[in-house]
Symmetry: C3
Subunit: 313 residues, 3 copies
Amino acid sequence: MKNLLTTTELTISEINEILEDAQYFLDGGTWSLKKNLFVANLFFENSTRTKCSFEVAERRLGIDTIPFEVSTSSVQKGETLYDTVKTLEAIGANAVIIRHSEDRYFDELEGKTDVAIINAGDGCGHHPTQSLLDLLTIKQEFGGFNGLKVAIIGDIRHSRVARSNADTLVRLGAEVVFSGPEEWFDDEILENGVRFEDIDTAVATSDVVMLLRIQHERHEVKNDRTAEEYHQAFGLTVERERTMKPGSIIMHPAPINRNVEIADCLVECERSRIFKQMTNGVYVRMAVLKRALEQSERGGKDVNTYKEWAVAN
Amino acid sequence: MKNLLTTTELTISEINEILEDAQYFLDGGTWSLKKNLFVANLFFENSTRTKCSFEVAERRLGIDTIPFEVSTSSVQKGETLYDTVKTLEAIGANAVIIRHSEDRYFDELEGKTDVAIINAGDGCGHHPTQSLLDLLTIKQEFGGFNGLKVAIIGDIRHSRVARSNADTLVRLGAEVVFSGPEEWFDDEILENGVRFEDIDTAVATSDVVMLLRIQHERHEVKNDRTAEEYHQAFGLTVERERTMKPGSIIMHPAPINRNVEIADCLVECERSRIFKQMTNGVYVRMAVLKRALEQSERGGKDVNTYKEWAVAN
Amino acid sequence: MKNLLTTTELTISEINEILEDAQYFLDGGTWSLKKNLFVANLFFENSTRTKCSFEVAERRLGIDTIPFEVSTSSVQKGETLYDTVKTLEAIGANAVIIRHSEDRYFDELEGKTDVAIINAGDGCGHHPTQSLLDLLTIKQEFGGFNGLKVAIIGDIRHSRVARSNADTLVRLGAEVVFSGPEEWFDDEILENGVRFEDIDTAVATSDVVMLLRIQHERHEVKNDRTAEEYHQAFGLTVERERTMKPGSIIMHPAPINRNVEIADCLVECERSRIFKQMTNGVYVRMAVLKRALEQSERGGKDVNTYKEWAVAN
């Protein structure tokens, strides 16, 4: 069993292995299970893309899914995340996919369960499968990362992927700049050689223009800009798109606030890889599930196995 | 990929083909998939019969279902129906089944997605699989529609099926009358040769007495009749049932308000086809899913296929 | 089709048969279906363990599950439990698993449907699959029940399992004592040879110390004890655990209020069988599903079969 908690913890060679497996699945490759394996998707926050994408990945691999809805579970009786995961382990889960509002919720689980933990988003922290699908999308387009310039634009402070994407892209040889409202940046964000760039320069000079969603649900105070003012100041307007380099692409993790981060008519334009990112997400998650479950599949250590609990004498 | 949006748009020969396929499945016929196909059931309004019926139909056909709950999806972050459907398309859905409170919600989707759209009820508009299962139930009983008299009784104005059922039955050669509280009718409703008839005549002279559910949740003003008053004035009482023709049957789309539209003891009486309608619903939905997915199954055009998105130069 | 409503109604030989089948499945035994069988899990109250456990059991047996969420069903339009179950029967369910807040909700269903009813908890009444998994856990440990002493400690009045477990254990030859706050007991509870014992004696002299969850959600008035006061007076403290007999075990149906019914550090101690109970739950539920569905599987009477409804003449 192999957890996937953050991309920061993955080595370059681990990242490459996941991307290669994802491409293998995308090209029609298969990985067949020899026995029933079970996963549960624990989404403590709303999701369409990530949750549905994991559900499709599980079915494509022939994994059985244990349906779990937070709102009708014993979480409502006060059961902790730890006890919920241990319960799922006891009834046969081989892996759990978790999205939770708390940063690093997984710290209380690591090393205390035999079930593999796959992080599907923790608070404002990490979202490794999103990072990996972003990397796959870039790699498909440009063949690699060396020498590419990537602009990450928008709500960096509340973004799960901005900082871990930046860190990973820099490790892979790309140049990364952040852009957006300056009050959303601070010195802590700008490190590891990532620098701030004004939006017009960033859009005009990058190979990848990666927009981030304004996370209204995480902003404690209402922003005093209107959507239209944000769009003109920091969004990918039709005018800015015209300045983009030949061969450069547009990315966004979605859901999209149309006409805020990006002009409505650009969402499905030729440069956009927004829906391709979603398609890639299924194959990346298949690769991540395979990595998490290979040990259980080989039977080396099956967390479903009935355990003897010795009696104290 | 073939949408199913309204019965009005179906030709007589398309209707007959669906009914024949449904009867084929009901008689034990099979249709086996050669590859994984995926559907998602998007129910923006509550449902037991229609949703569970589609779920059973999908499993009987070996289709994989992508679990989707509106209340825990990105719809809660403001994502539109269009973006939700495009997302599901991107992650591999071959068809989506949609129930939505908005009349003709599908107009914004038609022609803009490769995923098949199956309408499971739009506002006060259409509910084609309900109409088709009603037709199958009548056809099983009488062999056809020519010369039959069908009375549709109750809340016509808010009914998804009343008008499209009437239209289709008239096209198929039946005579249709509407009955119920007169203030719920207007000239717009009474067209295509459908006329109003008083309840006692309608019940006593029809081959099919089709009752409609009082849709409390769609009545903007509280009705000033009590349930008992409605039952006596416009319901199928025990006394009215005694006047029904030999061989005539009772139908209701359910859920039933017992002792309002129909006397409690008549729900499971010998004339009642109410539960048979539900059983037929599974087979009609199998036929509709087959029709929607045949193209994907043959591989003629598989919406799961990875798409190339050209880069603008 | 065979209902499972209460353990009280099961004979000793029926109990033994279920426990043997459960152990058979736990040891890797299989039971393969020859055709699609369908069940629906109707949980009108929150649950993690019981619901997920049934879901895993269904998948291990190859049974198809019809997804059903009370909150998005026609129950919200006022549909009764009876009509919901009859609907599921009509669309092909072979069994329904029901948890409901009303004591003996199943009385209105028994004998009126061909679908098998498996009780997953009724109000403060019964929870037969929990009782059976408790029995399996004890039997695995001690080989049988004769001469064992079992202490059931805590919120007996609101417990679904306390009284039916006591009754069954006494029938199987064990001695049972109840312990906990005296105001939670009355003469009606203490019958069939079960007596009250103070907590310190009960813990020190029993082979099985079975703790019950404080069901805050069923206490009409707030208890005037703090959690810590309850723990010291009636919980399994570290000090009390030290007095337990060699070879004796700790059980709890969970979810656990840590440091209330049991000290946090004892939940996963060597004596604890709490997570083993959960693992056993899956296999007990497989046995119960097999028992409920054997008739449908053999085709003796398949509730999925299309029914003829005679027309009255």
